[in-house]
């Protein structure tokens, strides 16, 4: 995942010295790819550009990898993608996707365990159906030859984790698993050597197989959510165009920026470092940083901070502080501290195993003692103790939680909510209060035209054609609103963009333009010019379309909602009154965090929903947190889940599905317990043969998985009601 920080040549300068044969790879995230047609369009469209050798789409990750001549810049490619109809961003180094290796290791172990299980079972079936004497011994030997390497390989994830737990004098689910598997293997080897009748190789390998299946499901769920979130990341100031002394520009990633460099910040770009404006005046949107929704005018000589978005004219900004020293760094420190409490949360499977492991081990020890004292001999007593361990080994427990959570997170993902891990679902189920940030969370966080009805159909299609050719935030908001209203773009000639002024073009021989108002107006606005006739379009940041429905759904679930915003009293008050919510305004990041700590201290389980950098500490400190897909990278990484799209309903849906999931998990635990009530006495009485163990284990696992699958339907019903 190397970010394309290649030597990029400014489009204006032709001083590229690199030879034609010099090829580089670049990666872009293209979130808009949704169908097979998009794959073909992107790959063929990019492939048709001279100098592009190959383009390959990864549809799952919503990325495209381009192998191209170094004379083509990333910006050229982004432009090309935009002409094809796709918004694209440079793919950044993705901090969330690094532990893909874990999933691969587990998948390999699962494959090996599956291979071993099938082949040993093949032999075991013959033994169970009556093979004896030399045939049985030979089959046991072959089983041992397969089982020992398979267990050594496939058992490593459990052995390693158990060893780690024991080293710190703790216990976890992996300790009884490891002891069970190792004892069963040792026991069976002894049986094989002495020509005994019972070998449990099949049971031990099957146990590993089912448990690994649970782990793989768990890892899959996390990596799926990660790649979904990774596709959203990287929209913020990851770097900047920096002016060279000779007047050319080059792209430098945020980590490479140093004080005194001069950045060119175009309209719509977000700042990658703190700095002072040295040339130009503009308006900045600082909602990510402070939650304020009103754009603020800034003049030459004023300081602006990383994370702010330039809404107006292009400006030159001299870097004063980069990377670790920016205003964001304070927020990052707060987040680190806030995130600590989260890691103390104990997941339900671990809570279960704390009760379960001592119970199982004492049962096994007691049956050994009992049989031994009753005069059964050490060997017989040990055999029975091992069969108790195997039969109670938590196949169903190991699957109970991940199976339910994977089904639930898959169902939620299809409805626009990406959950990072299973523990988030467990915490979501406990939520009794929701705190919403205002700007970007309850509202869209993007300027949208207040009223499209001021335009006639022709005006709309001209406006859309002009707006979609520009990356300015107002143009993008206008284009989105028009597309949502079903407008088709008009065919324009000679479209040109003058930075800071607007778009100009010709339409059926007439001059058309989308310009900023000639005089400063309150709030944001653009003028549409057709043949000299000006139409003003005012912009505001509207509420998400289904805010009311979502709040109703939440209160139906018995969850109270409130607003915590960094915005000023006037704008927060209006929204709060409109929605009938309790609200606090002008909150600093530390204030939001303190409020959450107070709630947690009072025994509540607050859910924080927020998008800005200023929400980062609150997102990290809340019991559980959700960020919208348009949120800052920091917030998306701090949050437990991310919802995409304009609707807020996934938040309410998440709570409903999480509660349903935990109900299913409890049912699964109950089933596992009932199974043990019947199986354990059999094992203690010495009636459990390898055949009985195999049937019991696979049977209980199937029941648990089947029960979890019911969630997919339940989640579907929940979303219909919602």
């Amino acid at each position: 995942m190397n970010a394309p920080v290649t030597d990029l040549v400014a489009p204006s300068s032709d001083t590229a010295t690199s030879p034609e044969s010099d090829f580089v790879d670049s990666r872009f995230t293209v979130p808009g790819m949704r169908c097979a047609g998009c794959i073909a369009k992107v790959e063929r469209g990019l492939g048709a550009i001279a100098g592009v050798e190959a383009a390959r789409v990864n549809f799952s990750a919503k990325r495209v990898a381009v192998h191209h001549a170094s004379a083509i810049t990333d910006d050229d490619l982004i432009d090309a993608l935009r002409k094809l109809g796709f918004e694209a961003e440079r793919a950044a180094e993705n901090p969330l996707a690094r532990d893909d290796g874990e999933q691969r290791r587990l998948a390999r172990a699962l494959a090996v365990a599956g291979f071993g299980m099938m082949n040993i079972m093949l032999l075991s079936v013959s033994v169970w159906s009556g093979a004896d004497a030399i045939t049985r011994d030979m089959f046991h030997w072959i089983s041992a030859l397969i089982a020992v390497p398979v267990i050594a390989y496939a058992g490593r994830p459990f052995f390693a984790s158990a060893a780690m737990a024991l080293r710190y004098r703790r216990t976890n689910m992996d300790v009884p698993i490891s002891i069970g598997v190792l004892l069963a293997t040792g026991m069976s080897l002894y049986e094989t050597l002495t020509g005994g009748p019972h070998a449990y190789f099949d049971g031990a390998v099957m146990l590993l197989f089912f448990l690994l299946a649970g782990r793989v499901l768990d890892a899959m769920m996390r990596s799926r959510a990660r790649s979904g979130i990774a596709a959203l990341l990287g929209r913020m100031g990851k770097g900047a165009q920096v002016l060279n002394p000779d007047g050319s520009t080059r792209y430098i990633a945020a980590e490479g920026l140093a004080p005194n460099m001069v950045m060119l910040v175009a309209a719509g770009e977000s700042l990658a470092a703190d700095g002072v404006i040295v040339e130009g005046r503009t308006r900045v949107d600082s909602s990510m940083l402070t939650g304020e929704s009103e754009p603020r005018p800034v003049l030459e000589g004023e300081t602006i901070h990383a994370g702010m978005i330039n809404l107006g004219d292009p400006v030159r900004v001299k870097v004063t502080a980069a990377a670790q020293d920016t205003a964001i760094a304070d927020i990052a420190r707060l987040m680190d501290e806030a995130g600590q409490s989260r890691s103390r949360y104990v997941r339900i499977a671990d809570r279960a195993s704390r009760l379960y492991a001592p119970a199982v081990h004492s049962l096994a020890a007691l049956s050994f003692l009992g049989w031994w004292l009753a005069g059964a001999g050490v060997y017989k007593a040990l055999l029975i103790a091992v069969s108790v361990l195997i039969i109670t080994c938590p196949c169903a427990l190991g699957l109970a939680v991940p199976a339910a959570q994977v089904v639930a997170s898959g169902a939620l993902m299809r409805r626009g909510l990406l959950i990072k891990d299973g523990s988030a679902l467990e915490r979501l189920a406990e939520v009794d209060q929701v705190l919403f940030d205002k700007t970007g969370t309850l509202t869209l966080g993007e300027p949208r035209p207040v009223d499209l009805n001021v335009l006639d159909p022709q005006g709309r299609s001209v406006a859309l054609a002009l707006a979609q050719a520009s990356r300015h935030p107002l143009s993008r908001g206008l284009a989105k609103a028009l597309r949502a209203a079903g407008t088709e773009p008009a065919a324009l000639d000679s479209v040109s963009e003058e930075a800071g002024q607007g778009m100009q073009a010709r339409y059926q021989g007439r001059e058309v333009a989308l310009l900023r108002p000639e005089f400063e107006v309150g709030g944001l606005a653009v003028d549409l010019l057709i043949d000299g006739t000006r139409t003003r379009l005012a912009f505001s940041d509207p509420l998400r379309p289904d805010v009311r429905a979502t709040l109703a759904e939440l209160s139906g679930q018995g969850v109270t909602a409130a607003i915590v915003s960094g915005d000023r009293e006037a704008s927060v008050g209006a929204v709060a009154k409109d929605l009938g919510l309790f609200a606090t305004h002008s909150m600093k990041p530390a204030g939001k965090l303190a409020l959450l700590e107070r709630l947690k201290g009072a025994g509540h389980f607050p859910l924080m929903v927020g998008d800005g950098l200023n929400d980062g500490p609150a997102l990290a400190g809340a019991h559980v947190s959700i960020a919208p897909g348009g949120a800052s990278d920091v917030s998306q990484q701090a949050a437990d889940a991310v919802f995409v799209g304009e609707r807020l309903m996934p938040v309410a849906l998440a709570l409903r599905v999480a509660r349903r999931t935990m109900a299913i998990v409890r049912q699964n635990f109950a089933m596992a317990a009932i199974y043990n009530v019947f199986a354990v006495p059999l094992a203690i009485l010495g009636h459990v043969t390898p055949l009985v163990a195999a049937i019991a284990m696979s049977g209980s696992s199937l029941v648990v998985v089947g029960n979890s699958l019911r969630l997919a339907r339940a989640a579907g019903r929940a979303s219909e009601q919602a």
């Binding site: 169908c35 097979a36 383009a55 799952s60 990898a65 192998h67 291979f115 082949n119 045939t135 072959i142």
Partner: protein
């Protein structure tokens, strides 16, 4: 019973071939883009060589 001397190794070898196949598939990135693979079948082929390109 001598047939066992043939059948058991055969079963093992077939299993191993599957296992090696899976390892190869994982290593060569066959599972990297499952949704993409499902969708690509719907793309109509225009040029013949449009899909054997370098993956980055």
């Amino acid at each position: 019973m001598t047939i066992l001397g043939f059948l058991i190794p055969l079963a093992l070898i077939m299993g191993l071939v599957g296992l090696v196949g899976f390892f190869w598939a994982m290593k060569s990135g066959q599972f990297e883009d499952l949704d993409g693979a499902a969708n690509r079948i719907l793309i109509e082929e225009e040029e013949e060589d449009s899909d054997d390109d370098a993956r980055g």
